[in-house]
């Protein structure tokens, strides 16, 4: 707990933590408000322009409650995943950059315990990040729904409200997995920049590859997040917005399998980080 407390203190007081969260929330708000603002323009556009009925249906699905809960979770899990990679990579990589690894190790601290405490601190801080992201995201949906005239009816749907805790936990797990991957890459590379670059690179390569080999890519770390967060009838949580049912079936897996895979990637990242630090020669 002592070690975890130290790691939390570091992260909470680090400007980069708040900057990352601030940019993420800004993008989240911007996205929903922009979608809401564009709705009326599309509806009023002459036939054949603006995307037509499919687009307006997609926007309605995105902004209408109770489906909007999953939409927000989906955006937090996917776009927020990029920021989780950044957060995880910078938490692990900055210690190498500032030479703080040698300070902890030379005090007799177990390398494994040290790196795991650092990772746990990252995962703990993702809890308030998810909650704040959900509050801000839902606020943005309400604003967007009001702008577009869609309204917020259905927000109090008992079934949807009851499923919110499960949705929040799955969203948190999705961010944890992605943060852990960035964390592991930065630990392996001993560099914050390398962690960021490689982590984000893999994210986009995987998204790109999903267009060619969806039946394989759906098992990869960033794609399983989409399956984990997908709610029946929702749009969020996927990069495959607008895809047909057949394509959706090919590019996603069932939620239980997704959960197992997310946990597996999370644990594997933790193990890789621990092994990398145990074997590292600390010369910097």
């Amino acid at each position: 707990m002592r070690l975890l407390g130290g790691e939390l203190l570091k992260l909470v007081k680090r400007p980069g933590t708040w900057i990352t969260l601030g940019i993420f929330l800004g993008i989240l708000v911007l996205l929903f408000v922009a979608v809401g603002a564009s709705y009326n323009a599309i509806v009023k556009a002459p036939a054949g322009q603006g995307g037509g009925r499919e687009t307006t249906a997609a926007i309605r699905s995105l902004l209408s409650f109770p489906g909007a809960y999953a939409s927000v979770a989906g955006f937090i899990g996917s776009i927020g995943g990029l920021f989780a990679i950044v957060f995880g990579a910078s938490a692990a990589g900055s210690d190498w950059g500032w030479g703080m690894i040698k300070v902890a190790v030379s005090r007799g601290e177990s390398r494994t315990r040290y790196i795991l405490a650092k990772l746990v601190a990252v995962l703990v801080l993702l809890v308030p990040a998810v909650l704040v992201g959900a509050i801000v995201g839902l606020g943005a949906v309400v604003v967007a729904a009001s702008i577009s005239g869609i309204g917020v009816a259905g927000a109090g749907d008992p079934g949807a409200v009851a499923s919110l805790p499960s949705l929040a936990v799955r969203t948190w797990l999705a961010l944890c997995e992605q943060a852990a991957i960035g964390f592991a890459i930065a630990t392996l590379a001993r560099s914050q920049i390398a962690g960021l670059g490689v982590g984000i690179g893999i994210y986009f390569v995987e998204s790109f590859a999903a267009g060619f080999w969806p039946e394989w890519v759906r098992y990869l770390p960033f794609s399983v997040v989409n399956s984990l967060l997908r709610e029946p009838g929702s749009i969020g949580g996927g990069v495959d917005v607008g895809g047909g049912a057949a394509q959706l079936a090919r590019s996603t897996i069932d939620q239980t399998t997704a959960l197992v895979l997310v946990l597996a990637y999370l644990v594997a990242s933790a193990v890789i980080s621990a092994i990398a630090l145990e074997r590292a020669e600390i010369t910097g």
Binding site: L9, K10, M100
Partner: protein, 339 residues
């Protein structure tokens, strides 16, 4: 006492008894005095194909200040990294407080405080928060200990400021505070005087002597030879990854005194020949640490300065200046072939 002040506020140098020198053997030999805080036997380490340590035998007795000297690239920092578990030696053994020390026993480093190379801190955290974070790893550190070490290094007033705004000297003092956090039995400091002003250096010297008088072992790696000469009880000199000399400083200096003479520049060659006939070719060199031309150094006991002068006079050369003494610099230069 505080590193920020040249005059200690208590327990300063004047009141600190100089620790008794421990009899140390030659390189690879065993000490016969106090038990050892740290020792290496045949320690080897290479970075790729470049050897850094080639069978280092080091014996650091407990309760003394040990000066660890060597030219750049001699293997000083590699030795410290091995001791602190940062890198794995390729061969040889290490002992910590009389027991074999391996990578599996890293927890025993809780008895060791260290400052390796430049001090590392989080620039966005205050000095106090940095110490709290550092104290969260390894040995348990009570909160009051953080305040104690801040007071000790004279940083209490600036403890709430971000380290990013600290001067180099303040960072160095905070690094020493971090090394002292766990109240270690063995303190390992790599160039601790870096960035300190003269008053800070004096105060640091007094602090380290005070710690040694309390029974702690202080292992100081430094390039500042006069600093080590004023501070250390036992000195180890390393060159090309191997220990070339180790022993009590007083005894070493007693064995390796020197006499320096200054002669007119036109007589330098003849004077050198005369002195080589007197003391032997290997015992005479020009310049050394002196910056002026015309200085010749002869490695003989300081008590023989009259004989040196007579040898010159017998050759018709008269010294314009003569000085004698024992200093670590001469010893270091002669042992490491750095002249």
């Amino acid at each position: 006492m505080t590193l920020a002040s040249g005059s200690p506020t208590g327990g300063g140098a004047g009141s600190v008894p100089h620790s008794p020198s421990v009899v140390a053997g030659a390189a690879g030999g065993s000490h016969t005095g106090a038990p050892l805080a740290f020792a290496t036997r045949g320690l080897r380490k290479a970075y790729g194909s470049t050897p850094a340590l080639v069978g280092l035998d080091l014996s650091v007795p407990q309760g003394i200040v040990y000066g660890f000297l060597g030219p750049n690239g001699a293997g000083k920092t590699t030795t410290i990294r091995c001791l602190l578990g940062l890198i794995r030696p390729d061969g040889g053994t290490m002992e910590l407080f009389g027991r074999p020390f391996t990578a599996r026993e890293r927890h025993r480093l809780e008895q060791v405080g260290s400052l390796v190379e430049s001090p590392a801190f989080y620039p966005y955290l205050s000095g106090r928060d940095n110490l709290r974070v550092i104290g969260s790893a390894g040995a348990a550190t009570p909160r009051r200990r953080v305040e104690e070490v801040l007071e000790l290094v004279g940083l209490s007033d600036r403890a709430g400021d971000r380290v990013g705004g600290y001067s180099m000297g303040m960072r160095q003092r905070l690094g020493i505070a971090a090394a002292l956090l766990s109240d270690p039995r063995l303190l390992v400091l790599d160039e601790p005087a870096n960035g300190l002003d003269p008053a800070g250096i004096v105060a640091m010297r007094e602090t380290l002597r005070y710690l040694a008088a309390q029974g702690k072992t202080v292992f100081v790696s430094s390039h500042i030879l006069p600093e080590i000469q004023q501070l250390a009880d036992v000195v180890g000199i390393i060159d090309r990854g191997r220990l070339v000399r180790e022993g009590p400083l007083d005894r070493m200096l007693g064995e390796t005194g020197h006499v320096r003479v200054r002669v007119p520049p036109e007589a330098t060659g003849a004077a050198r020949e005369a002195l080589e006939r007197f003391a032997g070719r290997d015992a005479v060199w020009e310049g050394a640490a002196q910056t002026d031309d015309g200085w010749i150094t002869v490695r003989v006991a300081p008590s023989r300065s009259g004989d040196v002068n007579r040898a010159l006079a017998a050759s018709g050369i008269y010294a314009t200046a003569l000085e004698s003494g024992s200093d670590l610099e001469s010893l270091f230069l002669s042992l490491t072939g750095s002249t």
